[in-house]
């Protein structure tokens, strides 16, 4: 198990370093990197302009630029946002709590609804009810996330609920299929035939079978919820990381956008790795 955790830890660090290198390359090669609006400031004398150009010149080598950025990042300096003129660290610290709250509540809501519907569909075994719940989740799956965000503004629905509605059909689809498969296993059919209670079947026989896969879905759902934060925050006017990323994209504020992307990658990787490790632990216990 420790080896597995160490492997995940190594993968996380490697991904962040690789992601940062990729970001540095993209920022460096993006059109307009060499242009500096500061040079247009009439208060600057020739020497200051020359100094600014010298700094730019030093950034021409991608690897030097990368290691320089990495060195600053280790000391907590993620650079300055071009569009907002504020340190990226400050912006991330200000915006992250709201996104974290929205995504957490959204995930809780989506899982509660999806599991409630999937469990009731698998337990009731009524074809019409199953068709209805599948149709509801399918309908949400066919609506773009941004439209759900717009509708939530129209109906004064909280942003967290909009994120929940975006994540819900994805969770439901997997949960329904997993539960349907688990309930058709021979030992569960036998337990039912012997008159074992539904709750006992659920907690003693179904949950141990589906828990590792559901944990994997939980990891994926974090990624979907974080992605949903962009349209929800941008269109509902919620000042979180999603809105910040959208504003950075529109303003082509690449240093800010890249840092947000790396942070989001780290969060989703952490969620997926945790789900994987816990899933393995459960499988180990089962074996």
């Amino acid at each position: 198990m420790l080896t597995r955790i160490a492997r995940h830890g190594f993968a996380l660090v490697a991904t962040v370093l690789l992601g940062a290198l990729l970001s540095a390359i993209l920022v460096r090669l993006a059109p307009g990197f060499d242009a500096d609006e500061e040079e247009l400031d009439p208060h600057l004398n020739a020497q200051s302009v020359q100094a600014l150009r010298q700094v730019r010149l030093e950034q021409h080598n991608i690897f030097r630029f990368y290691f320089h950025s990495l060195e600053r990042a280790v000391h907590g300096d993620l650079g300055t946002s071009i569009s907002l003129g504020q340190p990226v660290t400050t912006l991330l610290r200000q915006r992250a709590p709201l996104t974290l709250r929205l995504v957490s509540i959204g995930l809780l809501l989506s899982w509660a609804v999806a599991m409630g519907l999937a469990l009731s569909a698998a337990g009731l075994r009524v074809a019409a009810y199953d068709a209805l719940t599948t149709a509801i989740s399918g309908a949400f799956l066919c609506i773009p996330a941004a439209v759900l965000a717009l509708l939530s503004v129209l109906w004064n629905v909280p942003g967290a609920l909009a994120i929940g509605l975006i994540v819900f059909p994805n969770v439901y689809r997997y949960a329904r299929n997993l539960l349907a498969k688990a309930y058709s296993l021979p030992h569960i059919i036998t337990a039912r035939a012997k008159g074992v209670g539904e709750l006992r079947i659920l907690f003693w026989h179904v949950v141990p079978v589906v828990a590792p896969q559901l944990l994997a879905v939980a990891g994926i759902s974090v990624s979907i919820a974080v992605g949903a934060a962009i349209p929800v925050e941008a269109l509902c006017g919620l000042p979180g990381l999603g809105q910040l990323a959208w504003q950075a994209a529109l303003a082509r504020d690449l240093p800010l956008l890249m840092n947000i992307t790396i942070l989001v990658t780290l969060v989703t990787l952490l969620a997926n790795s945790s789900a994987d490790v816990i899933g393995q632990m459960l499988r180990g216990q089962e074996a």
């Binding site: 991904t15 399918g138 066919c142 773009p144 996330a145 504020d253 690449l254």
Partner: protein
């Protein structure tokens, strides 16, 4: 009876898709005014005999824009899907076929892309490109980007399939009879990946349609005056209530119908029956 019901739903879904594609292709005849012509005297007008879905705030015929937007979304999403499927075949198929370090490196890169939420990846890459491009270039850039970035999950599936084909008895026998390298891959492995490639191609289309819609609403998709479902849905931003101007929901309704039809065409028989 069940098989008949499944086929009925699928046939219906195919018929709907065919109808929508035909209507969008007939846009030149159904809406001869074009998508950019402005009828300024009737700007922001409700539906009438002259303008079936009314006009937008600068007087463009909404029906024409829906037809042309449908054409752009429905023709370019499959093009992007084809590109992403080909890339997945190349990266995933080769990684699975070669195995070893190649497979590990290719899958590590794939995992890196997969760990990023799709919309984050799209807006990041879109921001790297100039935003003030011509409408036609914006269409190409949007769908090219979807195609170039959307291959990762398909590559994972193809890598696993190619690895199992590589280890199959007939490939071993072919290798033993002296066929190797590129010929073995092109003549024996790739044809066996075709069903997976076909499935991945069809799965990608609704994903790309929805992604384009999301990008369009966020202002990072197809540029004005070119219509697409994304840019048409952006109009919903100005609504005060749902019942106020229901005709503005027609592009959304069309998009939902098309994506639902794709879901029916693609879903497994047991899911359709449910």
């Amino acid at each position: 009876m069940r098989i008949f019901r499944i086929n009925l739903w699928r046939t219906l879904a195919c018929a709907v898709l065919l109808l929508v594609v035909s209507l969008s292709l007939a846009a030149n005849w159904l809406a001869p005014g074009g998508y950019a012509k402005q009828y300024r005297e009737v700007a922001d007008a409700p539906p009438s005999r002259a303008h079936w879905l009314g006009t937008d705030e600068i007087g463009r015929d909404r029906f024409a824009r829906v037809l042309y937007g449908t054409r752009i979304s429905l023709l370019l999403a499959p093009a992007a899907a084809l590109l992403s499927t080909l890339m997945a075949a190349l990266v995933g198929g080769l990684a699975g076929y070669l195995g070893g370090a190649w497979s590990r490196i290719a899958m590590a890169v794939t995992d890196l892309f997969l760990s990023l939420p799709w919309l984050f990846l799209l807006i990041t890459v879109r921001a790297l490109m100039p935003l003030n491009v011509s409408p036609l270039v914006s269409v190409v850039v949007t769908f090219l980007m979807l195609g170039l970035l959307g291959w990762t999950s398909a590559a994972r599936v193809l890598c696993a399939t190619a690895a199992s084909v590589r280890d199959s008895d007939f490939v071993r026998q072919t290798r033993a009879s002296g066929v190797r390298g590129g010929r073995l891959f092109w003549m024996h492995v790739l044809p066996n990946l075709t069903p997976v490639l076909y499935a991945q191609f069809w799965i990608s289309i609704p994903v790309f349609i929805l992604s384009e819609a999301n990008l369009g609403i966020l202002g990072l998709g197809v540029a004005e005056p070119m219509p697409s479902w994304g840019s048409l849905l952006k109009e919903l931003e100005g609504l005060v209530s749902v019942g106020e101007e229901p005709w503005k929901f027609v592009p959304l309704l069309l998009l939902v119908i098309v994506v639902t039809s794709f879901q029916f065409v693609l879903s497994k028989p047991d899911e359709v029956a449910a």
